[in-house]
């Protein structure tokens, strides 16, 4: 029964996405509501696995195909955690889109691509077959390519191409790695591959190839520059793809492959951490110089992704729990920031923070939501980001060189600087000549909801932390 639900949670949004244009013909109002319904269905399905995960069980679905292309799905702690996080954030973002996208053309394309994206995301997190993992990975790339270039201006389309090409080339490298694994083990199935490498050393070239894919998707140095450029997309898209969900794919695959399936040895982990530390610093510095609000938040994402790598590569349970919580808390808060930026952009008609100011008077709710999300990203209690930041740092302390942890601490300091700078420039100080008004109720409601979720994530840390601990123990122990 549960294994069928596993399939349903992927199929509903994946194929439902293509129904949306048809439903849009029936009624314009039906399209966004069914989009939301598909995502909520997926969220509900994912939530059904919580009891089994807490019992330490893994729900699997298997369908045999020739050439090792078996469709095998598994719902363990890690994948259910990712699925719930992605679906929850996507649902809020779609709700926000009701207000945001309503006066643009090509809504068919928009809703189809967003829901398709979520569907393939669900497929990706539940896949336990490397080929299907790759397939879903590429579908997300195609969907994000269309969504980034949604406004169809020449420069925008070029930036969409850039995003697609960088992540696509990374994915090709990863596919090559998978094929090498197949040649050695004769299977794409993760459990078989894992069995094989219990007794054999894991080939370094595969690590490098797969890491190229992961770093390009998770926008880590030196493959990161597509992410700030992708800020030309509509704000809910940037929130969905480039803060909350898409960039977490790379992190997820790292956790799935290199933590849960074939743990990397210390030297690889430290190499990953050095790259991540550089990424955290350079992007945080760039965020402090940038004047485009959405680019600031995008650089911030690059910087925060590095903290997730810090937790994952720490090799400790505390670090892993921290990394999982980081995925959740950062997703909520960063989606909130991007959506706030969308409201600000729609009402001031600019993204340049030097041309804004004093908006707290005209947009108090947006300002509050922005501040809540920003302090959560900074890691200030009582917001959820506090616990995740503490845990990734505490997990790495003692397990990894102190110097690396100190670099991340510097990154955390810069996080405070650039987020406060952005907040002050947009919401505080003198108001510009043209007065702005608050966004539409559904949009403001969505961002306030995300801000409150960030707060609740900290106050009620017991629940997500409990779940993340089960997932982390499962990853460290038997799969």
């Amino acid at each position: 029964m549960l294994s069928c639900i596993l399939l349903v949670s992927i199929v509903v949004p994946f194929f439902g996405a293509f129904l949306l244009p048809v439903l849009g013909r029936v009624s314009r109002g039906l399209r966004p509501i069914s989009a939301l319904a598909f995502v909520l269905a997926s969220l509900a399905c994912s939530c059904l696995f919580i009891p089994s995960v807490l019992k330490g069980e893994t729900v699997v679905f298997h369908m045999a195909f020739p050439l090792g292309l078996n469709l095998s799905l598994a719902a363990d702690g890690l994948s259910v955690f990712m699925a719930i996080t992605s679906a929850l954030i996507s649902a809020v973002i779609i709700l926000y889109s009701f207000g945001y996208i309503s006066h643009y053309e090509n809504q068919n394309e928009y809703y189809t691509m967003v829901v398709l994206f979520l569907g393939s995301m669900m497929g990706l997190v539940f896949s336990s077959n490397l080929v299907f993992l790759y397939l879903f990975w590429e579908v997300t790339a195609v969907a994000s390519w269309r969504l980034i270039g949604f406004f169809r201006e020449r420069g925008f389309v070029q930036k969409a191409d850039k995003a697609f090409l960088v992540t696509f080339l990374g994915a090709l490298a990863m596919l090559l790695g998978f094929i090498l694994l197949y040649r050695q083990t004769g299977s794409f199935d993760l459990s078989v591959v894992r069995e094989y490498f219990q007794h054999a050393p894991f080939p370094g070239v595969v690590v490098v190839l797969v890491l190229a894919g992961i770093f390009s998707k998770s926008a880590t140095l030196p493959f990161h520059t597509w992410l700030p450029d992708a800020g030309v997309a509509p704000s809910p898209v940037t929130a969905l793809l480039h803060a909350a969900v898409l960039v977490k794919i790379g992190v997820y695959v790292f956790a799935r492959l290199f933590v849960a399936t074939f743990p990397l040895d210390v030297r690889w982990n430290e190499a990953v951490l050095i790259v991540a530390a550089l990424s955290a610093l350079v992007s945080a510095g760039a965020a402090l110089r940038e004047t485009d609000l959405k680019r600031i938040i995008a650089y911030s994402t690059i910087s925060q992704i590095a903290f997730i790598f810090l937790g994952l590569a720490s090799g400790t349970v505390v670090g892993l729990v921290g990394a999982l919580l980081y995925i959740l808390m950062h997703g909520l808060a960063k989606a909130g920031l991007f959506l706030c930026a969308g409201i600000v952009e729609q009402n001031t008609h600019t993204r340049d923070i030097t041309k804004m100011g004093g908006l707290v008077k005209s947009m108090p709710w947006t300002a509050m939501a922005f501040l809540f999300c920003a302090v959560s990203v900074m890691g200030v209690p009582p917001f959820g980001g506090f616990f995740s930041k503490y845990m990734v740092i505490a997990g790495a302390l003692g397990a990894r060189p102190l110097a690396i942890v100190l670099v991340f601490l510097a990154g955390a300091v810069l996080t405070i600087l650039y987020l406060l700078r952005a907040f002050n420039a947009v919401f505080m100080g003198e108001a510009p000549a043209s007065p702005a008004k608050e966004g539409s109720p559904v949009m403001v409601g969505s961002v306030v909801f995300l801000g409150l979720l960030s707060l609740c994530g900290g106050v009620f840390i017991f629940y997500p932390s409990c779940f993340a601990q089960v997932a982390a123990r499962q990853m460290m122990g038997a799969w």
Binding site: K162, V166, G285, L288, P381, I393, S465
Partner: protein, 610 residues
């Protein structure tokens, strides 16, 4: 033993704050009534809990971070003190904030601060402590930002400085937890080796930055001018001092068990001495009532750190006694500053003078509190300072010298402040000034009364509040209450105070006004250069730090742009060039194509055969 009652002091102010947010604006006085009621209830709760012992624990974030609270003598004492100040300052604020913008936000932040302080004091787990402790960042930011129109800049400065220190503390907590294998404060015992020492330093950064010590101080004088005045009286003057020194004492007495022989002792004493002298020198030259007081709030923290840093029982008792004394007289002083601001319309000393005739009660409170902070017997500050002196002298003459010099300048600057604001000729524009309203006067008078009581009857606070904190440690014979035992030190103190007075009289006579009484120090050969640099904020670590951050940002943005050029231009150019090259191979020559085809087939054969 589970005692959910420990939730009460955290919940009362928090629920009241939530209630304030939900009360519609049109209900006049509702916000004042709710806040007053909550602060009074909080005081009752703290009073009831004082002297009792209880623990509470509940599962929380997991992995060692359980929600554990512990009430014992020390935490009960700090909580009671915080509740007292909370109540007094709130009574004062009810009138002070009337008719001001953001009054409701002020009360909400105020109550949340009380709740967070109670939580941090009760915490028996380092994560719980940090959770409440760092949460104060938000109320700090909020309370400063609702001040003057550009106050958000100061709020940002405060947020960044305190936030960075809290991050250091977070690292220290992670390290301490890793080394000790537990996060329970009462169970941690760590040696001061390489990593333990690092953890110690990081935790101390957290503690002394909360106490407002140098070099983490520079936001406080700015906030004194920009934030609403009761903010200064409640956070930097009392709650933050109590919290910072409380945690410093926990670190040095419980977690690391410092001895006079360890390097940590001179480390703390040096920080204390530098803070005492450097901050008081800055206080000396201030021309604003509130700003002058704020530098003393920094300087006095130095005495507490020095006292605890001596690692001698008398010094620790003196440091803790000074903590509570300072909170009393500094809160009182800030409140007098608020009265002057509200009644006279300015706190700029150049625009004040002769207010003693118009505001006699305020002046009386000022006199008591200023005498206390200057260490004049028989007020409370005298007794705690004498204890710190005694311990400092036992460690090294230099530490004593710095502390005594601090006393001289403290007295000098308060003579100047009192003279400039309250004495001298009454200015024409201040003719209509009246005494401040009684709800504002009452807290000042009460606190001034406590200052006198804690001085004249110092055995009561020492026996009931301070000495039980140390427990058997203080049985060593030091630090007995009553008249200080070291008569020599008392005589030196008297000479110093007399010197400060004569210095003031002479300076005032020379310059012709109380405000300019210390100008001869300001213009002294070496000092004038240092002062000039200090006023350009050359020594402000925040300014230097922001410059570094800015340069780093420039550098990394350049790196980032260069990488982007590689993608946007480099790769595009490479592919275009490759296309041109390959295009040239297509010559249209039939035989060339045949050679290509044959070579390709050969390669395929080799691959298949291989």
């Amino acid at each position: 033993m589970q005692m959910p009652v420990l939730w009460v002091p955290i919940a009362i102010p928090l629920l009241a704050a939530a209630a304030l947010l939900s009360v519609p604006r049109r209900f006049l006085f509702a916000k004042e009534a709710v806040s007053l009621f909550a602060a009074a209830l909080n005081l009752v709760a703290a009073w009831t809990l004082f002297g009792k012992e209880a623990v509470y624990a509940a599962p929380w974030a997991g992995l060692g971070a359980e929600f554990s609270l512990r009430l014992y003598h020390f935490s009960g004492f700090i909580m009671l003190a915080a509740a007292c100040f909370g109540f007094f300052v709130l009574v004062y604020s009810v009138v002070f904030m009337r008719g001001k913008d953001h009054a409701r936000s002020f009360f909400v932040f105020f109550l949340v601060s009380l709740s967070l302080t109670n939580g941090a004091v009760l915490a028996d787990n380092l994560i719980v402590l940090l959770f409440f402790w760092e949460g104060l960042l938000l109320t700090l930011f909020g309370m400063i930002a609702i001040g003057r129109p550009q106050a958000f800049r100061t709020a940002t400065k405060a947020f960044i400085i305190v936030g960075i220190c809290d991050l250091c503390m977070m690292l220290g907590i992670g390290l301490a937890g890793h080394l000790a294998g537990t996060l329970a404060i009462s169970a941690i015992r760590l040696p001061l080796d390489a990593l333990g020492g690092l953890a110690f330093v990081l935790l101390v950064i957290g503690a002394i930055s909360k106490a407002g010590s140098m070099p983490f101080h520079s936001w406080i004088p700015d906030a004194a001018e920009d934030a609403p005045l009761p903010f200064m009286a409640i956070l930097p003057a009392s709650l933050e001092k109590l919290l910072g020194i409380y945690f410093l004492a926990r670190i040095s007495l419980d977690m690391f068990r410092l001895t006079p022989a360890s390097w940590a002792s001179p480390f703390l004493m040096v920080i204390g001495c530098i803070t005492i002298v450097a901050a008081v020198m800055m206080a000396l030259i201030q021309k604003d009532y509130k700003r002058l007081l704020s530098y003393h709030a920094i300087s006095q923290a130095g005495y507490m750190i020095l006292g605890i840093g001596t690692c001698l029982p008398v010094g620790i008792i003196g440091g803790l006694f000074h903590m509570i004394n300072h909170a009393l007289y500094k809160t009182c002083l800030f409140l007098t500053g608020g009265s002057v601001e509200r009644q006279a319309g300015t706190t700029n000393l150049e625009g004040l003078g002769g207010l003693a005739r118009k505001m006699p009660a305020t002046f009386a409170c000022f006199l008591v509190a200023a005498a206390s902070i200057s260490g004049v017997p028989p007020f409370n500050g005298f007794f705690s300072k004498e204890m710190v002196y005694e311990a400092a002298l036992e460690r090294n003459f230099l530490f004593y010298l710095a502390a005594a010099a601090g006393s001289f300048f403290t007295a000098a600057s308060f003579l100047k402040l009192g003279h400039a604001a309250f004495l001298g000729p009454l200015r024409q524009e201040l003719k209509s000034v009246r005494e401040t309203a009684w709800p504002m006067l009452l807290p000042m008078l009460t606190i001034a009364g406590i200052c006198v009581f804690f001085g004249v009857n110092n055995s009561w606070p020492l026996e009931h509040l301070i000495r039980p904190v140390l427990g058997p440690l203080s049985a060593a014979g030091h630090g007995s209450p009553g008249v200080p035992g070291e008569h020599m030190l008392v005589i030196v103190t008297a000479v110093i105070l007399l010197g400060a007075f004569l210095n003031h009289v002479a300076g005032a006579a020379m310059a012709g006004s109380g405000l300019k009484a210390i100008d001869h120090i300001y213009r002294a050969p070496v000092l004038s250069g240092i002062y000039e640099k200090a006023q350009r904020k050359v020594f402000d670590p925040y300014v230097a730090g922001m410059k570094i951050a800015e340069n780093f940002a420039k550098f990394s943005a350049a790196v980032d742009r260069k990488m982007d050029v590689f993608y946007d231009k480099g790769i595009v150019a490479a592919i275009t060039a490759a296309g041109h090259r390959l295009g040239r191979l297509h010559t249209g020559n039939y035989s060339t194509y045949i050679i290509w085809a044959v070579a390709g087939m050969l390669l395929a054969l080799v691959f298949v055969a291989g």
